[in-house]
């Protein structure tokens, strides 16, 4: 049976059966046999790339027994732009704007990871003032990313109002970004060696205003959802994954922390100025969707704490270290990772001494976390798959690069 | 008789255009019945059956039995026909709609229907004395009460059908339990 030329979702049986047959079994331990033939009870359903709830162009093939999910298969690549290959043909400075486009929701973190990786490769350290500015911007971006996550996740589960509240409050962060570096979403905020832009006049005041503005708003989001019986029923014990499974799969970020593993790169391998701040790592117990929700809400509050400490003590000094105009790192390779809002974002850069990297590999947190989807949705109903995709917090730009 | 001039409580409905409505409802019922057996598409048959049932409910209303009419709508049209439609839609019947297998038996069917008709006619003719020859004036407002008395009894005593009613409800409970047990994969 030939696969049809176009990817029509209603012709799913022949199409996906073919796909499944040609794909090597990639799941950890599939209880059901990995045959491409349909049992009389089994149904293969395609949640196609165009779907209101898959947060981007993600295609999920579900193998169902009635309503229960037996297994899933994620088909990605619809947003692949060849970023890593592009990186081999750009200079280090020229590649800096490209990293924003990967996780476009948390662009500042991407920039931080890349700049720090190149700085480490060149054995250059950003000055203290630049580090503080970087921390403030990154934590603001963490809050913005979590707010967007909360809005879309709640919308998938059916609560349509928190979306508007979180986006409204996210606007304040984006205003600060716009005033700082001129862009709201793809900020390109940092440079290799520090920051290019000095903080604008009134930056500290505005950030402090934002802190007082947003703290009661986070309480408002919690008031709408945390003790709501319907929210509890939709999220408790849905998508449970144990800490050991998380570590085995390489899952990081709030997903790992909600399963009970206290691992946060800001504390474990401190970078930028994080070692100077006092904050906690929220950890969950069950590893279900509700715990991931609580962990992210607590992370937002911890970010507020970090920003407050940072903005109260920005040191004076230069914002840019002494880096040559043309960046030519010495031959070598480096892997540097940071704690992005979605997990461990790593950059592996191999330099051959020229102005362009030999190989630039990005370890995106969403890509690795998405592999846990199959493990999480076994035995759940179809409506839960959407909730679980939302709770892993993926951004397809990062998954596909 | 214009009962509209009495102040106060709820009264019976004055009959309006009785022959017209009788022929309309009866015609609808018969037409619905004919459509049930002549349509190829099972869903169309079910819809025609709904029309028949609603027409019969209307006929009950004309016989001053509003409770029975209401129950007919709720139970038959709203419950049993929904069940029929569920079954029709969940079972693949497209094949059988193109099947002409049963149409070869139509002489037998016609013969059986004629025999049944002869039975009805003979029963009506022979038992003419049993049927009232004028319309009974049943007080409409007490239809519900009378049925309740028959089913549940009055003044502390059991009515004529109380025991049967309870047995029937036990039967229904057994049927529900059986359905639940048969569809669950594990108990």
């Amino acid at each position: 049976m030939n696969a049809p030329a176009n990817d029509r979702t209603d012709d799913h049986i022949s199409d996906s059966a073919n796909d499944v047959a040609h794909r090597a079994p990639s799941n950890l331990d599939l209880d059901a046999p990995a045959t491409p033939y349909l049992d009389s009870n089994e149904l293969i359903i395609n949640m196609g790339p165009q779907h209101p709830a898959t947060h981007g162009v993600l295609r999920v093939i579900l193998k169902l027994d009635g309503e229960k999910v037996l297994g899933t298969e994620c088909v990605i690549g619809y947003l692949h732009r060849g970023v890593e290959k592009i990186g081999e043909n750009r200079t280090y400075t020229m590649f800096n704007p490209y990293v924003d486009r990967m996780d476009y929701v948390a662009a500042v973190s991407n920039g931080l990871g890349y700049c720090e990786a190149v700085e480490k490769l060149m054995n250059v350290e950003a000055p203290a003032r630049a580090k503080y500015i970087r921390v403030i911007m990154t934590e603001l971006n963490r809050i913005a990313s979590h707010q967007l996550w909360l809005g879309t996740h709640a919308l998938d589960i059916g609560a349509m109002t928190p979306l508007f509240y979180t986006f409204r409050d996210r606007e304040e962060i984006l205003k600060i970004f716009e005033k700082y570096c001129g862009a709201r979403l793809t900020t390109h905020a940092f440079r290799i060696g520090g920051c290019q832009y000095e903080t604008y006049a009134g930056f500290e005041k505005e950030v402090k205003n934002f802190l007082t503005y947003v703290a009661p708003k986070i309480d408002e989001y919690e008031e709408l959802l945390t003790t709501n019986r319907i929210w509890l029923e939709r999220t408790k014990n849905v998508g449970v994954i144990s800490g050991a499974d998380c570590i085995a799969l390489g899952v990081t970020g709030p997903v790992l922390r909600a399963s009970g593993v206290q691992w946060d790169l800001r504390k474990a391998q401190p970078y930028a100025a994080y070692s100077e701040f006092d904050f906690e790592i929220p950890v969950g117990t069950n590893g279900d969707t509700y715990d991931r929700y609580l962990v992210r809400m607590a992370e937002m509050r911890q970010s507020l704490r970090i920003i407050e400490q940072a903005v109260n003590g920005i040191p004076e000094g230069p914002i840019m270290a002494k880096v040559p105009k043309v960046i030519k790192p010495p031959v070598g390779e480096i892997y540097h990772s940071i704690e992005a809002p979605k997990g461990e974002l790593g950059y592996f850069i191999v330099s051959d001494g020229t102005t362009q990297p030999y190989r630039l590999r990005v370890r995106p947190p969403s890509f690795v976390n998405l592999q846990a989807l199959d493990r999480m949705v076994r035995g759940l109903l179809v409506a839960d798959v959407i909730a679980v995709i939302g709770t892993i917090d993926i951004v397809l730009g990062e998954v596909d690069r | 008789m214009n009962p509209g001039m009495n102040p106060g409580m709820v009264r019976d409905m004055a009959p309006v255009a009785t022959p017209f409505f009788f022929y309309l409802l009866a015609g609808l019922a018969v037409a619905g019945g004919v459509l049930v057996i002549t349509r190829r598409n099972a869903v169309h048959s079910a819809l025609a059956l709904i029309v028949t049932l609603l027409a019969v409910a209307g006929l009950y209303l004309m016989l001053y039995a509003p409770f029975v009419a209401g129950i007919q709508i709720i139970v038959y049209a709203g419950g049993i026909m929904v069940l029929f439609l569920f079954v029709i839609m969940l079972v693949n019947i497209e094949r059988s709609s193109k099947d002409r297998r049963f149409n070869r038996m139509w002489p037998v069917g016609l013969g059986a229907a004629c025999a049944l008709l002869a039975l009805f006619v003979s029963a009506f003719v022979k038992g003419k004395a049993l049927f009232p020859d004028r319309m009974m004036s049943l007080p409409e407002s007490s239809n519900t009460q009378q049925i309740a008395t028959m089913l549940y009894g009055e003044g502390g005593k059991m009515g004529p059908y109380t025991f049967a009613f309870e047995i029937a409800s036990l039967l229904l409970l057994v049927a529900i339990l059986g359905a639940v047990i048969m569809t669950k994969k594990k108990i």
Binding site: G158, W231, I386 | G70, I74, L85
Partner: protein, 436 residues
């Protein structure tokens, strides 16, 4: 014809038009109610968009007509002008008839809804039974719609919707029965199934059934309130028609006017079940505190409420006019809103005149026809106000809560609501026997 009109305004006639044997008035009533419900559905559409928007810190429709007041009309025209797409493999007859069934079921319920002691199209003495039965016919419309689309996602969605509606009908019915039980605690000792009779029973017993045998009436009311939200497939029970789910609902393949018929049926069903709740538990057309605040002075004060409401609405509209920008682009909107405010003010003045002119100072004097007219207006007003509160609640629920997963929804219907309503029924019966 003047005889019919005079016979209706005659104060000694105290029955619904159907009872009074006046077919003309019954037909006029049907027409009035049909128009009224259609207007109410359009108003509900507007209110939903505006209220939902304001819950979500946005404004909603603002451009089509002042503050979006003409938006429902624009939507209706757009839907009528859309191309009527019928899937090629669809069952043509069933495709066409499904919205009709839903609409018929939703609108037929309005024959028994009582707006006043003699204001219903017909006061059947099985009124509540009729309402329950006809609203269960709406399930058929959904099932046939899902089938007729000939595509298995709408079919699954339709079967789910109908399974949900059927499950919650059981709890609804039991809650209704416990309210009916309370009507039998009358002086005459017999209960009634007729809608007007139920409100009269509340009047005679001097208490709204929601407060009777506290908390039994309240629990029954709450069960009904939850079940009616599930019955009409509204949030938080709208899994079967939500956009972000895999099965997109029974009206996926319907476009244009046919889809709008489904929406019309849904809103009409919402208003209908709210009317049942109001009639059974909230005293129907009676004003608040009919027995506690019994003096004619209180009657007088409460009779001004309709006029006050419309004055309030007119005042809101005038404030809206004042706050609108005075740029020349906005002139037509300002003028439109001012006209609307003027219309509301005119209605308010009219109601004020009726309220003042129709009062009878001495409670013993038999009510003249002007007083009867005023009472009629008041009855309709209180009824509509209570139903409007329920409509607002529907929108509030939709804005606030996430939706239940389908199996959780069925679990709530069968394992939570049904046992509680059975319990309430039994306890109400026991208490009723003990009390009487």
């Amino acid at each position: 014809m003047p005889n019919f009109i005079m016979s209706y305004l005659d104060s000694s006639v105290r029955g619904t038009p159907g009872e009074a044997g006046s077919q003309f008035w019954a037909l006029i009533y049907v027409f009035i109610i049909f128009t009224g419900v259609s207007v109410a559905v359009m108003a509900m559409n507007w209110l939903e968009r505006k209220a939902l928007a304001h819950f979500q810190i946005r404004l909603g429709p603002m451009r089509v007509g002042p503050h979006g007041l003409l938006q429902p009309i624009a939507d209706a025209i757009k839907l009528m002008l859309k191309e009527d797409i019928i899937p090629a493999e669809a069952d043509q007859f069933a495709f066409w008839v499904a919205p009709m069934i839903g609409l018929l079921a939703a609108f037929a319920v309005y024959t028994v809804i009582p707006f006043g002691p003699s204001q219903a199209v017909s006061d059947m003495n099985i009124g509540i039974l009729f309402m329950l039965g006809v609203s269960s016919l709406g399930v058929l419309g959904i099932v046939v719609a899902g089938w007729a689309s000939n595509s298995h996602y709408p079919l699954i969605g339709a079967l789910r919707s109908s399974a949900q509606m059927v499950s919650y009908e059981v709890a609804m019915g039991l809650a209704v029965v416990s309210a009916i039980l309370m009507t039998s605690l009358n002086a005459s000792g017999t209960g009634t199934l007729s809608m007007i009779g139920i409100v009269r029973a509340q009047q005679e017993q001097g208490v709204w059934f929601i407060f009777k045998f506290f908390p039994l009436g309240l629990i029954a009311f709450v069960i009904f309130a939850i079940a009616m939200v599930a019955e009409t497939n509204r949030a938080p029970f709208d899994m079967a028609e939500a956009e972000s789910e895999l099965t997109a609902g029974y009206h996926t393949e319907y476009s244009g006017l046919r889809w709008s018929l489904f929406m019309l049926a849904e809103y009409a069903a919402m208003i209908a079940v709210s009317s049942i709740a109001v009639t059974l538990w909230l005293g129907g057309w009676m004003r608040p505190f009919p027995n506690l605040l019994n003096a004619p002075a209180w009657d007088f004060i409460f009779s001004f409420f309709p006029a006050l409401t419309f004055f309030g609405l007119a005042a809101i509209a005038i404030v809206g006019v004042a706050r609108m920008s005075s740029h020349s682009f906005f002139r037509i909107q300002r003028v439109g809103l001012a006209v609307f405010a003027a219309v509301l003010g005119f209605i308010a003045v009219l109601l004020l005149v009726i309220a003042v002119g129709g009062r009878s100072v001495d409670a013993n004097v038999a009510a003249g026809s002007a007083a009867r007219f005023r009472e009629g207006i008041d009855d309709v007003y209180w009824f509509v106000l209570k139903v409007a509160v329920f409509m607002y609640l529907f929108i509030w629920y939709r804005a606030t809560w996430p939706r239940y997963r389908f199996d959780q929804l069925m679990r709530v219907g069968w394992k939570v609501l049904l046992p509680i309503s059975l319990g309430v029924l039994v306890v109400t019966a026991i208490v009723g026997v003990i009390v009487s």
